[in-house]
Amino acid sequence: MEWRASVKVQLKKGILDPQGKAIEGGLRRLGYKAISKVSCGKLLDITLTADSEAEARRLIDEACRRLLANPVMEDYEIEVSRA
């Protein structure tokens, strides 16, 4: 079965996020006073084959731990759906 995984990689809370800060500053300069915090991460869109959703999730989780995210500074979230 084909699955589609969406992996959101985000800097851990408390880690300086210069990109997020720069975007936040840009929005403020444009007058968006209501916006108080922006953090900037990566979104990876992955297509894979696996027998079940659980199996797909397990594979992606492993890939995240090994390569896609750096546990020293990043957290990740996985969403899996049928392709």
């Binding site: 800097l11 300086l16 210069p18 720069a22 090994r66 390569l67 896609l68 750096n70 020293v72 500074m73």
Partner: protein
């Protein structure tokens, strides 16, 4: 000493490291990223560049190349490993050194000579320096903002494993002379045994008088047994 310089696709300081190492008197050779043979070198240099394009995270993919498995084994045996710039990032990704690299605080690539205080002269790479000496080496990176959690940082500091620190010309490591936002102005660290050194500045670019200085050559000379 026999020194091998690893060539990843995307390495771009490989030749520079070879040249500076040879000037210092070493026998240099290149090690291709797909090899599994270190050819009996005593020291491995992971040079600067953009290994595998660095599209995911700097050094993230290089860390899984065949040669890196051998480099990890070599390091565990006590063999010498020097990671410069992107090479430092690879060492962090490979877990040979603790911490991670964030984008420079300015979000811009920064290329300029900086002053560094030599904090640890007991490593094989820094033994010819006097402790506290201020040296001048070029930096050139977009991701040199060293980060580690508090425990790790305390350990690095407590064990004297911070080897180089950004500072002013008089050796004061102040915020104004921190080029990238790195924690505690850290420019280079080593492992517990001192046989693995990672540093953002480029010693190979300061190894000849006509290039503006020879402070970097001292690191290569320190390796002469």
């Amino acid at each position: 000493m026999k020194i091998g310089v690893v060539v990843f696709p995307g390495s771009n300081c490989d030749r520079d490291c070879f040249f500076a190492g040879a000037l210092a008197g070493h026998e240099m050779r290149f090690l291709w990223h797909q090899e599994r043979d270190l050819h009996n070198v005593d020291c491995v240099i992971l040079p600067g560049g953009f290994s595998y394009g660095d599209y995911l995270r700097a050094g993230a993919i290089a860390r899984f190349s065949p040669i890196i498995e051998e480099v990890i084994a070599h390091a565990r045996r006590g063999g010498l490993v020097l990671g410069i710039c992107n090479g430092f990032q690879v060492l962090l990704e490979a877990g040979l050194l603790p911490g991670a690299m964030l984008p420079n605080k300015s979000l811009k690539f920064v290329s300029k000579p900086v002053h560094l205080r030599v904090e640890n002269t007991s490593t094989p790479f820094t033994r010819l320096f006097d402790r506290g000496t201020v040296i001048r080496l070029p930096i050139a990176h977009g991701l040199g903002n060293f980060y580690a959690d508090k425990d790790t940082l305390d350990r690095l500091e407590g064990e004297g494993r911070v080897v180089f620190r950004y500072c002013d010309r008089n050796g004061n490591p102040d915020e104004a002379h921190n080029p990238n936002g790195s924690l505690n102005n850290i420019a280079g660290i080593c492992n517990e045994e001192g046989n693995v050194l990672g540093m953002m500045p480029h010693p190979e670019r300061a190894s000849e008088e006509i290039l503006g200085g020879t402070d970097g050559l001292v690191i290569f000379r320190s390796l002469l047994s």
